[in-house]
Amino acid sequence: MNPLSIFAETLSNIAISPMLVAILFSSTFLGIVFGAMPGLTATLGVALLTTLTYGLEPETALVALLAIYVGGVYGGMYTSVLLNIPGTAAAAATALDGYPMAQRGEAGRAFGLATTSSLIGALIGMVFLALVSPLIAQAALQFTSYEYFLLALFGILISGSLTSPDLAVKGWAAGLFGIWLSTIGQDHIQMYPRFTFGMHALDSGIDVVPVLIGAFGIPQIMMVLESHLSLGGIKASMLGRILPDFRTLIKNARNIVSSALIGVGIGAVPGIGEDIAAWVSYGVARKSSKHPETFGKGAPEGIISTTVANQACIGGAIIPLLSLGIPGSPPAVMLLGALMLHNVAPGPMLLKQQPEFVPQVAAILFASAITMFVIGMILSKQVIHILRVPQSLFMPLIAVLCVIGSFALGLNTFNLYLMGIIGIISYFFTKLQFPIAPLVIGVILGPMADTALRTGLKTTDGSLLPFVTRPISLILVLVILAIVGSQIPAVNNAIRNLFSAMKRKAA
């Protein structure tokens, strides 16, 4: 049986079974809710459903799990656009332009663009999963510790430059502060406690979720309450149309393709996921845009690139999961566990013994993407009415949700204090016009930068040469140097002089 007919058969199986359709819709919806709520993440959603679907058939369980994954990554966008509090780290980059758009009265347009772009991203990811899995999986394995370190550093630097365009150093400072926060606790190699001051609660380090909620949620709540800012007067006609804005999308075809490729590529590299994909594609979109100055002020390109990339990342993350048994992103780790529970062991043998599995997964991913689009379009129309509620009434409710979100993961009271402290620090960061996002990205990627660098050095007896002798490393080093160099006036002038001298010579 050829893959295409397996794909079609799986799709029709889903479509004609009322139970599967019900599972598909409810899981996607649950995913969107998980994604939108600060603190509840796609990973947590997949974990929850893993337990609930244990008794079901493997294929049915997979429908539920992939649907909640797709929904969870998509849902983070709602809170980003409406409140500037990203529901998940993957949606943090979407807030940069989504929130300004909403403030301009174009929340509907932002939702429409994000929903359609998410659909496109998910579908492109699926196509790559279905067609070129083995190829991408092999390429992703070329990443060793040196590349991981550079990739983490690159992720932190780029989010710093992007969120603080006037003075990138401020963004980097926030990123460094995040890296420092991430070093608290026992280090991951020798288990030596760093900055714990003998407190056992700090031994396991700083959890990302309370940092995410504290850093994004608390300053936003305080700012809104402080400024008595109210969007209550907005009329429905001002919310913008929700229907997909095809003209903008067609104009962005190049942006969509490059963001999707970045999403698939980053998704396929083990250990990093949707959040970095969104930042990198945002950076590329801004660099290649004709109007980079509109970014951060409500540019549709920003929303399109981030949502395309984080959805394309799903297909990307499943590629090494199915072809090598190596999950490409944190939710994919949960997916691996769930598959093993159902006695499906993903890996090279699965592809040989059950070649029909990949087209099946691709079909389920396709169905999930379509469902996400349908629910998203219906939901956007309703969610938008939240903007009618005066924000000063709404924010205390968000504050309660933040507290619940920080506590829910691990039921650890220490995380509540942590959220409070990080929140207050972030509030002053915001007041001093330091961006918050690099801080969070620093906390997320810091451990990877730390352990990958030390592991790499250990494998080569402390040699720094692989940074320039390994091809992928070399490219990353050059990109990082370019990012840093462009912020140093002396370097900038030197390059400008060099170019004008060359021009003069040529003339």
């Binding site: 337990t51 020798q190 093993m340 090279p348 494998t459």
Partner: protein, 336 residues
């Protein structure tokens, strides 16, 4: 009249209710049981616990809910939560051999002796190299290691993990020295072996089976007493090739759950019965076969002795490495 009838009825209802409640208390289990798994969802301990408890709940007739309570050192947060629950048999603690280091790592004050263990599964460790490696047999690798001390890079999970301890024992046994590169877990070590960042990887057969069968890994020897058959290939036993290894090995994985020692004996017997039935069930057998786990099925004194040995081995190894926080001697852990 009506009031009288009503009161009579109420009294009757109340007595039947209390009677049935009392009867329910005599019978174990009368409500849902919670299995506090100390490692994250999706890992070996979690998956094994979910499969075993699902089979057990069929036998005892109530649900066993698996919750993951992770964090701390060596899963201490979950251990403490499980230990602090009432010792009534309604709380199981899902754990593995790695939890035995919790005391030495400063995670909590108790030793393994506070628990009664039920060990369900285990998978043997295997020494493998990437498909492009220059060594075809274990003898070639051992000769190279001896000729080039510290040159061969070996990955085996994190520092202080079962695999790390196996790697140390292997080096001691062959009297060679390798460069141990710690990774956060088994899968990260295997990725590093795939990308060629390290030369040798020591993790379980359950974790490596796909990569071995696809030819990406070349298994050189298992760290068990006998050879291991995986699909069509037979992996020789390193212990048979190098009998000196038997001084330190085998050290096997142990995944299962525990209850507090002071849980009433009758209740522990009920749990043991359910555990035996579960180990004998088709779904557990299928799960083990599909995922290359060996079924252990130990409980009582035998299981406790196994965990006590692992505690001693792990704690002292970590102390010798300088990684442990509390001297095992102070904890009263005997030297291996």
């Amino acid at each position: 009249m009506n009031t009288k009838k009503l009161i009579m009825g109420l009294v009757l209802a109340a007595t039947t209710l209390t009677a049935s409640a009392a009867a329910a208390q005599d019978r174990y289990p009368s409500r849902n049981i919670t299995d506090v798994v100390t490692w994250s969802a999706g890992g070996g301990t979690d998956v094994t616990n979910r499969v075993i408890t699902a089979a057990m709940s069929k036998y005892i007739g109530t649900n066993i809910n698996v919750v993951n309570v992770t964090g701390g050192v060596s899963g201490s947060v979950g251990l403490i939560q499980g230990y602090d629950a009432k010792p009534d048999g309604y709380t199981l603690i899902g754990l593995s051999e790695s939890n035995t280091t919790a005391a030495a790592m400063g995670g909590w004050e108790n030793r393994t002796e506070v628990f009664d263990f039920f060990i369900a599964t285990s998978s043997p460790d295997v020494v493998s190299v990437g498909k492009d490696a220059q060594w075809q047999t274990l003898a070639e690798l051992v000769d190279f290691v001896k000729a080039n001390p510290g040159k061969v890079r070996v990955g085996a999970g994190g520092a202080g993990s079962l695999h790390h301890i196996n790697a140390l024992a292997f080096q001691k046994g062959i009297d060679g020295e390798m460069n141990f590169v710690p990774y956060p877990g088994s899968s990260a070590s295997q990725n590093a072996a795939l990308s060629g960042e390290i030369d040798v990887v020591i993790t379980t057969v359950a974790e490596q089976n796909q990569l071995i069968q696809s030819g990406d890994f070349r298994p050189l020897g298992t760290l068990t007493e006998g050879p291991y058959t995986l699909g069509e290939q037979v992996i020789p036993s390193a212990l048979e090739l190098y009998p000196e290894l038997k001084t330190y090995l085998p050290i096997s994985q142990a995944i299962g759950f525990a209850v507090r020692k002071d849980v009433p004996v009758e209740i522990k017997q009920e749990i043991a019965k359910a555990f035996i039935a579960a180990m004998d069930s088709e779904e557990v057998k299928t799960f083990a076969a599909e995922n290359y786990y060996e079924l252990v099925g130990e409980y009582g004194a035998k299981a406790n002795a196994r965990m006590a040995r692992l505690e001693s081995l792990f704690s002292w190894t970590l102390w010798d490495l300088g990684a442990a926080k509390v001297n095992p001697e102070e904890l009263g852990i005997p030297k291996p």
